[in-house]
Symmetry: C2
Amino acid sequence: MAKVKKQPRPKAETPKGFRDYFGADVAERKVMLDRIAEVYHLYGFDALESSAVETVQALGKFLPDVDRPNEGVFAWQEDGDGDWLALRYDLTAPLARVFAQFRNDLPTPYRRYAMGPVWRNEKPGPGRFRQFYQCDADTVGTASVAADAEICSMLSDTLEAVGIPRGDYVVRVNNRKVLNGVMEVAGVFDPADPDKNAAERGIVLRAIDKLDRLGPDGVRALLGEGRKDASGDFTAGAGLSADQAAIVMGFMQAKAASGAATLGNLRDLVTGSTIGTEGVDELSSIAGLLDAQGYGADRIEIDPSVVRGLGYYTGPVFEAELTFEITDEKGRPRQFGSVAGGGRYDDLVKRFTGQAVPATGISIGVDRLLAALRAKGRMDSNDTGPVIVTVMDRDRMADYQQMVAELRNAGIRSEVFLGNPKNFGAQLKYADKRKSPVAIIEGQDEKDRGVVQVKDLILGAKIAQSATLDEWKSQPAQFEIARSDLVSELRRLLAAQK
Amino acid sequence: MAKVKKQPRPKAETPKGFRDYFGADVAERKVMLDRIAEVYHLYGFDALESSAVETVQALGKFLPDVDRPNEGVFAWQEDGDGDWLALRYDLTAPLARVFAQFRNDLPTPYRRYAMGPVWRNEKPGPGRFRQFYQCDADTVGTASVAADAEICSMLSDTLEAVGIPRGDYVVRVNNRKVLNGVMEVAGVFDPADPDKNAAERGIVLRAIDKLDRLGPDGVRALLGEGRKDASGDFTAGAGLSADQAAIVMGFMQAKAASGAATLGNLRDLVTGSTIGTEGVDELSSIAGLLDAQGYGADRIEIDPSVVRGLGYYTGPVFEAELTFEITDEKGRPRQFGSVAGGGRYDDLVKRFTGQAVPATGISIGVDRLLAALRAKGRMDSNDTGPVIVTVMDRDRMADYQQMVAELRNAGIRSEVFLGNPKNFGAQLKYADKRKSPVAIIEGQDEKDRGVVQVKDLILGAKIAQSATLDEWKSQPAQFEIARSDLVSELRRLLAAQK
């Protein structure tokens, strides 16, 4: 038989922009998501896990990054000139599809939460991944601002439940209708012809969203002729006159010392605009509901600088910001920033059904929130390694397996070393790599005497690092116990190590 | 401005072969997966969540359904003639890639578990979906059969942990080496030229795998010239002579009353084949280890009819079967069948590195195991609906929100009705659809008197179904309580409803 030519070896690489999560990373995320789900569930929301794959048609184009020509999704065509399918890029577009599809069977309002990966076909970069987790809660089918208020209070409760202390976060609330009112006053929005000047308003929206990054001057430039950035790239502006831009800038700076004062400023700014006044009324109702439940400005506040980049929001918008400082890559202190955002979107279901279905919701950036919890040292998943039963005599595997069976029955995480047992040092190195708290040793001598050696690896590591010989003598890192006491002695030791 | 031509409305449909999971479905799967993860973790396995997307090159072609020309994966090319990417079709191929990529940082052996969706680009059919969950545990980097034995005992523990009682399942074990030995004896395997007759052996393998479905005659036909099925479709056979086929059939029927007797039969069958004898020795070691830990034939047994369809297995293979009967769609009783399978695969990592890395593992079919637990009535996720606070007076939303805030602080799942409150009947219908245990009513009259009405919806449903008026009088489904007793009274009522 002729030799078949060898194929070149495939590369063992995660695709660009993707990553794998190991051990503690998975465990920590699970702990956090479980806590979030508990709050959502307590609030009456039901779980939904929609298909990861959608038709491109159903997904539509609602990606935040409208500046980029790329569609931003991973898409492919079904065999035989079939439908175009794509990976979901968020959890909101699939919710709109699900609600439209199953609306006759679902309760209205439909309150659902969802958590899972989403995919974006974007240029990968440092810290910028093409698959990441989102965790959403939405109420579909009610226009009541009580639903918006509830999303804010739930978000506040959620952040505290996962371990962000009160005072270290703030949920900011604004309303797109107020912004539209301001635009109406500034002459770039006509309620009788809402499509007119849509492009300009889009630029205004994104400019306001960049206030943090660009500062007032940068935003003012984008409201006017445009802005050249440090690299020389030019971003076209909305073309507003100085007077028009001043009105918008006034809106962004309308935040006052109290919520009531902020609302007063906004009411003044939108005088004469019906939609603007409606927006201020809604914000006022939301503030009233939250006050009545004790969610004060230390947790939730009205902030006109919050607009959210997405085009589909139609009313209240929310953003959760972490206010504590971290050190950035250049060693400078900066606020941690946004970890969740959302708002009211009344037209997403209408795409499918023709009927307006009001909806509101929130999306938590899971990776960012996890990073925040780690930065605050609040994420010890307590994921200790297993007890390792070493193999001194490979003919007695059954004995060693019997030991771990006993330990596991007692709820103690454990395993027999299953690699090549020839080199005992390699067994201890393995235990070290697994962050094992304890290694068990039973050679023929121990077996004959009915005992086992217990190696306290936590203490052993401490001794190796710093202790003097005297200390070592009084509390040896290795000691002998009766084989019959294995479970009780390990229970004692593991509890003492905590 | 000219009217823009309206786009046709997108269809609100899950793509063909995909589905969404709602409320209890998600909750039940989570309960089951959490229990499985607990056992895996106790056994010393660490979590891994690899990227859902892989390069096509890294994935390779290891799909079980080799009869189909279609590659079986959802794939697309990166922009600009880039890499071909694809959704993972199982959790084993990504594990091989991860181990090859990170082998210098990972402990050896590397014991990992993984759970998540996988995708298959197959023709969808009834009960056949293109996205489904798998839940795997694998040990990479050890040739020890103790690792195989452990996978079997862990699988047994796992099934009991999720709620399959002992006696309702059996983990069957076999060894591909024994099968190769049988093939050697039958003259279709030559250890000196292992590639020879590979196609024939593939057909034999798949034929044995179909014993349950086709019976001995069907398998014998596939071992010989081929087989025409009821629809008239012809499947080509392996072309074995009657004598050769008889040897293979003897192998499949080698199972005896005890494990020792089965091993004896197998040893006889492979007399003269080195690899076959090695396989029987391995099976014998596995049986010894399991016996020593008390896993008898009531839980784990040697069964030569288990071969597993996948081509990459090289040694022991496992299958977990549920032995209780269910009623099929035609009303006939049948055994529930397989819910998990796996085995030893020593060459998957070698594809990347050139070095052989022995590995063994198991994959649980999550949807099938869930279906089994539901069929046995063992899956009550206890996911009751929320308490619904109805809205009698829409100006008092803050009062109602205050009630649910109190209830939620007490850990009672609850919500204010957020739909249109005009029609009170619609509010109760909503509560019904949510499977709410209780509705709370507070009109102006109640508010003035400092009371609320409590509607016991569980009892109400019972009364509506069957009770006489007398019973209704003694235990009314609606009663009045002091507003200040809301939390304590609901706690009492919800506990009594259990």
